[in-house]
C-alpha cells in the first residue's frame, strides 16, 4: 500500500514532514470502532492487494478477510470480553513469514504462486492476542538486500519521501508502519534488515536477542543470524508486540525458554544507562558529513542528559563485514537448496534432465543478488575453501562476539550509527552489487546475537536519521527504557527554538 495521497498544500513535493504522520490508536482506547476505521481507509485508497495507488507494492492485503475479522473483533470489543493491548490491532508481516493461506513469496519469482499452508509461530501468537494480520509486506528477495528494490514485485517507496527507497530488507513493514497503514509490523533482521529501514523511515524497530523469538515459519536466509524483529512508531506498542511473540518454542530448537519481560512496561519507564559506549571519529568517517553531525548530536543528547560517554574502536569492521557475509551466504546457499522446483514453486517448463531442471528452474526463479550470494556461499563451503574460509569466518565471529560483549561493562549500552548516507533516490542508477559495507554497523548485533533497537534521532538532509542501541543478551528491557528516555530528551535545536521536537514520534 502506498503512502496516503493526502499531501499538505504548500509543501515542497516529494517530502513529508514527520509530525504529520497519523497517530495510531488502540482499538480499546476510544470505544470507537478503531479497527474498522483502518480497514475502511485501506479500501478508500483504491484496490487492495499487491498494488497501491501508484502501483508500488508494499502491502499485499486480504482486505475482505481482514475486514470480516475486524468486524467480528469489534463486536467483542464492546463486550467485557475484550482482552489485552494487542486485541484488534492490525499488523503487517514481512512476506517471508508464513501466514496460512496467504502468498508467502519471500519476494521471489520462484515462490510467486506459493501459499503458506501453516502459520509461523509468531503469527499464531499474535492471533492469540487478538491481533489481526492485515497482510504481508514487501521485501528484498529472501531478505538479501538493503533497499527493498530487489523483490520480484518491485520497489517500495519511502513514505517520508516517495522518490526514495525505504532501505531493507524489511522495507515493506517499515513503510506500512511509517505510512500509518498499521501501528505495528513484523520483519526479519539478519544483518540489520529491520533496523536500517526503520532508520530510513523514522520509526522504532527492535532486533531481539538471538533465540528470544521463534523462527518457525520464517523462510530461512541465514539460520544463525535470522531473528524476527518488530517495527512501530510507538515504543509501548513495540514492547507489547515483542512480549507477545517472544518466548521459547518447541518447534524451534534454537529458541530459548526464558521468562519474557513486559517490554511495554519497560518502555513506560524511561531510564538512561549510566554509560554509553560508542565509536570515535575515525570510525565515523564512512558516514557522510550530515550523518556524522547527526550522530554527534545524538551522542550529545545522551551526554547532556548525564550519561558517561566512552569511546572505543569499532570492533574489527572489515573482518566483521567479511565474516558476516561469508557465514550468512554459506548458510543461505544451503537454506535455499530446497527451492528446486520439484514440489512447489517455479519449475522450468518442458521435460528435461534432472540437472537441467534444477539449474534452470533456479536460474529463472532467483534474482541476481540471490544467485550471487548462493554461489558465494557454495564456494565458501567447498572442499579446499571450507576450512580456510568458513572455518576462519567462524573463528572471527567468535572473537568479534567476545569484543562486543566485553564493551558492556558497568551497565553500559552500545550506541552506533545505523546508516552511512540517506536513502538513495529510486531513480538513481542501481549499483551493480549491493553495498555490503553499508551494513558494517548493524551486523555486529547479528554476529554477536545481542539485542539492538533502532531509535529515531532527528533528521539529516531533511530525511529521517536513526541510531541503534545495543545491550547484553536478554536485556531488551534496558533498550526500551533507554530509547524512551532518549526520545523524551529535547534536541539542542528544539530547546533553542522552545518548540516540540519534530523528531521521533512521541511516547505516550
Amino acid at each position: 500500500m502506498s503512502a496516503p495521497s493526502r499531501r499538505p498544500k504548500g509543501r515542497p513535493p516529494g517530502r513529508r514532514r514527520l509530525r504529520n504522520r497519523p497517530r495510531n490508536r488502540r482499538a480499546s482506547d476510544s470505544g470507537s470502532p478503531g479497527t474498522l476505521r483502518i480497514g475502511v481507509a485501506t479500501s478508500d485508497n483504491g484496490p487492495p492487494a499487491a498494488s497501491g495507488a501508484r502501483g508500488e507494492p508494499s502491502l499485499a492485503a486480504r482486505t475482505e478477510d481482514a475486514l470480516e475479522r475486524a468486524a467480528a473483533i469489534n463486536r467483542r470489543v464492546q463486550s467485557p470480553d475484550c482482552r489485552g493491548p494487542l486485541f484488534g490491532l492490525p499488523v503487517a508481516v514481512k512476506d517471508n513469514i508464513a501466514v496460512r493461506g496467504l502468498p508467502s513469496t519471500s519476494g521471489s519469482a520462484l515462490l510467486r504462486d506459493y501459499r503458506a499452508p501453516y502459520d509461523a509461530t509468531v503469527v499464531t501468537r499474535l492471533r492469540q492476542a487478538g491481533a489481526i494480520i492485515l497482510g504481508t509486506a514487501n521485501l528484498d528477495e529472501f531478505g538479501m538486500g538493503s533497499s527493498t528494490t530487489r523483490g520480484f514485485r518491485g520497489p517500495t517507496r519511502n513514505p517520508v519521501d516517495p522518490t526514495r527507497i525505504t532501505g531493507g530488507s524489511s522495507g515493506g513493514p517499515a513503510a506500512a508502519v511509517a505510512a500509518g497503514a498499521v501501528p505495528a509490523a513484523l520483519g526479519t533482521d539478519t544483518g540489520g534488515s529491520v533496523r536500517q529501514p526503520a532508520a530510513h523511515c523514522g520509526i522504532f524497530a527492535i532486533r531481539p536477542t538471538y533465540g528470544r523469538v521463534s523462527r518457525y515459519g520464517i523462510t530461512a536466509y541465514a539460520s544463525s543470524f535470522d531473528q524476527v524483529g518488530c517495527l512501530a512508531t510507538d515504543l509501548r506498542v513495540l514492547g507489547h508486540v515483542l512480549s507477545q511473540i517472544a518466548g521459547g518454542d518447541p518447534r524451534d530448537a534454537t529458541s530459548v525458554s526464558r521468562k519474557v519481560p513486559d517490554f511495554a512496561a519497560a518502555a513506560a519507564r524511561p531510564e538512561l544507562p549510566r554509560r554509553i559506549v560508542t565509536v570515535g571519529d575515525a570510525d565515523l568517517e564512512v558516514l557522510d558529513a550530515p550523518s556524522q553531525r547527526a550522530f554527534h548530536a545524538a551522542v550529545g543528547r545522551f551526554e547532556e542528559a548525564g550519561c558517561e560517554i566512552r569511546r572505543i574502536g569499532l570492533p574489527n569492521p572489515e573482518s566483521s563485514v567479511a565474516a558476516y557475509y561469508l557465514l550468512a551466504c554459506a548458510e543461505a546457499s544451503s537454506n535455499l537448496s530446497r527451492f528446486d522446483g520439484i514440489r512447489y514453486g517455479h519449475r522450468r517448463a518442458g521435460q528435461e534432465s534432472l540437472p537441467t531442471t534444477f539449474r534452470e528452474s533456479r536460474t529463472q526463479g532467483f534474482g541476481t543478488e540471490v544467485r550471487r550470494r548462493i554461489l558465494l556461499g557454495t564456494t565458501v563451503l567447498s572442499r579446499g575453501y571450507r576450512d580456510a574460509i568458513y572455518g576462519a569466518a567462524t573463528e572471527a565471529r567468535r572473537q568479534i562476539t567476545a569484543r562486543v560483549l566485553s564493551a558492556f561493562d558497568h551497565g553500559a549500552l552500545l550506541l552506533l550509527p545505523i546508516t552511512k548516507v540517506p536513502p538513495r533516490h529510486l531513480a538513481d542508477p542501481v549499483p551493480a552489487t549491493a553495498d555490503y559495507d553499508g551494513d558494517r554497523f548493524t551486523i555486529l548485533a547479528a554476529l554477536a546475537g545481542v539485542p539492538a533497537i533502532a531509535v529515531p534521532a532527528g533528521e539529516r538532509s531533511g530525511l529521517p536519521f536513526g541510531v541503534e542501541l545495543m545491550a547484553p543478551p536478554w536485556n531488551e528491557a534496558a533498550l526500551f527504557s533507554a530509547a524512551a528516555a532518549f526520545s523524551a530528551i529535547p534536541s539542542a535545536a528544539a530547546r533553542r527554538s522552545r518548540s516540540p521536537s519534530p523528531g521521533a514520534a512521541g511516547v505516550r
Binding site: 520464517i218 530448537a253 534454537t254 544451503s334 537448496s337 572442499r383
Partner: protein, 490 residues
C-alpha cells in the same frame, strides 16, 4: 599370486521410534498411503525447522554401547548438501565429525578356511541421520513419483573398519549386528522391508601387502544371502580383472539378483563434495557420563551370551540354543514358558518344531503368536499328565493357533481327551482284528509288525484318542489271544 580380501560394511538401520527424526510425524510409513505422513518439516517447506527426536539419540547410544564404542561427551549434527528429488531440503541432516559413537568392535568366529579364529571386527563409528523420500521410477514413461512418507525417518549408520577378510566373515558380522539391534529393540531389522540396509566396500591386495587396493562400493543387496553372494562374486571379479592385466576401477556397483552379478552404476572417481557444515538449526548435544551409565545399565544379555547360558544351565544343544536365543522375542518367550513349569527340552522341541512351522507359514513373528507362553505351557502339562498324546497335542496346537483358544477348552469341546479306559479300547481292538484277518494271519505267521498296523487301525477307530501304549498292548494281547485260539482250533 595369493590375494587377500578386504571388506568393510556400512549398514543403515531404520530406528523403531514412534516419530520421525526431526518432526512429530509417525515413523511407521510402511503401510501408509503415499504422502500421508508429512508435515512442513519433513516436506522441507519454507520456514520449517528440525527438532531432535530424543529416543532416536538414545537408541543410537545404546547401539554404540552394545558395539563396545566410546560415547563422546559432545556430539552435533551437520548438513550434508547435495541435490536430488528424494532429498526435500537439498541437504540431509547427518553427522560428520562428532558422531554419537566411535571406535567399537564386534567379535566373530573368523573364517576357518583362512585359518582365522575368533577375532574382533572394528566398528569405526555409529551416527544418526534422517532417511530420504522414496522414488518410484517408470522407465520410458517420462516421469517418476515421490513418496515423502519415508523422508525424515531416523536412520542409524554403523560403519565398520575394513577388517573383514571374506564374504563369510561379512555374513557373520552382519548376522551379529542384526541380532544386536533386534535384541535392543531399536529396530525390527527387516532387510526386505528396507529397515536394515547394507552397502559393502570391497578390495583385494596381495597377501602380506599393507596397502589397500582400489575399492568398489557394492549396493542393492537385499538379503544376507545376497550380501554373501555379491561379495563372493565381486572378489572373484576383481581378481580376474587384475590377473588379466587390468586395474580395478573405483566405482559403485549394483548387485543384480537375477543374474547374480555386480554391474557398474556410476564412477566414484571423485567423491561428492557434500560441503559439510554444522547444522545451525540444532544445538550441539551433551551426553554426560551419568546418562551413558544409565543407558549402559539398560543393555540386555545378547544372543551369544544367552545361547551359552541355555546350553550351560538348561543342557540344550548348541544348535537349539542358538535358534532360541536368536531373537530377543524368541528367547523371552522361551524363558517365560519355562517359568510356567515346563521342561526346557520339551519347550524347545515344540517351539522349534510345530510352533515354528505354524508361524513360518503365516510369516508371523513369535510376538504375534496366538499361542502364548501360558497356553503352550498348559498344553505341555496336558501331555505330561497323560490327557493328550503327543500327536493329539499337535492337533490341539493347530487349533489353538487358529482360534487363540485355551488347550483345556479345546480338548473338552472336541472330546479329545486321551482314552485310557481299557474297555473302550478293547472294543476298538476287537473291531480292528475282525476287520483285518490278513494282518492277524501275518502276525500269527511271525510278522510282528502287523501288530503295529493293527494299532494304527485302533488309533483311527478311536479318532487318535486311544492312549498309544495302551492300544499297542491291548492289540498285542488280542493278537496273542487269536494265536492261542488259532492253535487250539483243529
Amino acid at each position: 599370486m595369493q590375494y587377500e580380501t578386504v571388506i568393510g560394511l556400512e549398514v543403515h538401520v531404520q530406528l523403531h521410534t514412534r516419530s520421525k527424526m526431526f518432526c512429530g510425524c509417525p515413523a511407521d510409513y510402511q503401510a501408509a498411503e503415499p504422502n500421508t505422513r508429512t508435515c512442513p518439516v519433513c516436506l522441507g517447506l519454507p520456514g520449517a525447522l528440525p527438532v531432535i527426536n530424543r529416543r532416536a539419540v538414545e537408541y543410537t547410544v545404546l547401539t554404540g554401547l552394545a558395539l563396545n564404542c566410546r560415547i563422546p561427551e559432545f556430539t552435533k549434527f551437520d548438513r550434508k548438501n547435495y541435490p536430488y528429488p528424494d532429498l526435500m531440503k537439498g541437504y540431509q541432516i547427518s553427522q560428520y565429525d562428532l558422531p554419537l559413537a566411535l571406535d567399537g568392535f564386534l567379535e566373530i568366529d573368523g573364517d576357518t578356511q583362512l585359518g582365522l579364529g575368533r577375532r574382533r571386527i572394528g566398528v569405526e563409528r555409529v551416527h544418526l541421520e534422517e532417511d530420504v523420500a522414496k522414488l518410484q521410477h517408470f522407465p520410458g514413461e517420462g516421469y517418476s513419483l515421490v513418496d515423502v512418507n519415508r523422508s525424515g525417518v531416523p536412520l542409524m549408520e554403523v560403519v565398520s573398519k575394513p577388517d573383514m577378510r571374506s564374504a563369510e566373515e561379512a555374513r557373520q558380522y552382519l548376522t551379529l549386528l542384526h541380532s544386536i539391534v533386534q535384541y535392543l529393540g531399536v529396530s525390527t531389522g527387516n532387510m526386505q522391508d528396507g529397515n536394515f540396509r547394507c552397502d559393502a566396500n570391497v578390495s583385494i591386495r596381495p597377501v602380506g601387502s599393507q596397502i589397500l587396493g582400489t575399492r568398489t562400493e557394492v549396493k542393492n543387496m537385499n538379503s544376507f544371502r545376497a550380501v554373501y553372494q555379491a561379495l563372493e562374486y565381486e572378489v572373484v571379479r576383481q581378481r580376474e580383472v587384475i590377473e588379466d592385466g587390468g586395474a580395478v576401477v573405483q566405482e559403485t556397483r549394483g548387485w543384480i539378483e537375477e543374474r547374480e552379478v555386480t554391474v557398474s552404476q556410476r564412477s566414484k572417481e571423485y567423491a561428492h563434495d557434500y560441503r559439510y557444515f554444522p547444522e545451525p538449526d540444532l544445538p550441539p548435544l551433551r551426553i554426560g557420563p551419568e546418562r551413558v551409565a544409565e543407558l549402559a545399565a539398560e543393555l540386555p544379555e545378547f544372543a551369544p551370551q544367552r545361547s551359552a547360558r541355555f546350553q550351560a544351565d538348561l543342557a540344550l544343544s548348541g544348535y537349539d540354543a542358538d535358534l532360541l536365543a536368536g531373537s530377543r522375542s524368541m528367547a523371552n518367550y522361551f524363558e517365560t514358558t519355562l517359568t510356567l513349569a515346563a521342561t526346557a527340552k520339551e519347550v524347545a522341541n515344540w517351539m522349534l518344531g510345530d510352533l515354528a512351522r505354524l508361524l513360518n507359514q503365516d510369516h508371523r513373528e513369535i510376538d504375534a503368536s496366538p499361542v502364548t507362553p501360558q497356553r503352550l505351557a498348559d498344553l505341555l502339562a496336558l501331555v505330561a499328565d497323560g490327557t493328550l498324546s503327543t500327536s493329539l497335542a499337535k492337533t490341539v496346537l493347530e487349533e489353538m493357533y487358529a482360534t487363540g483358544g485355551e488347550p483345556a477348552d479345546i480338548v473338552r469341546e472336541q472330546g479329545l481327551g486321551q482314552i485310557s479306559d481299557t474297555g473302550a479300547i478293547e472294543a476298538a481292538v476287537a473291531e480292528a482284528i475282525a476287520a483285518n484277518p490278513k494282518a492277524v494271519a501275518d502276525y500269527i505267521s511271525g510278522k510282528d509288525t502287523a501288530a503295529r498296523f493293527l494299532m494304527g487301525q485302533v488309533m483311527r477307530l478311536t479318532k487318535g484318542q486311544a492312549q498309544p501304549e495302551l492300544a499297542l498292548r491291548l492289540v498285542q494281547e488280542g493278537l496273542e489271544l487269536q494265536k492261542t485260539r488259532g492253535s487250539l482250533e483243529p
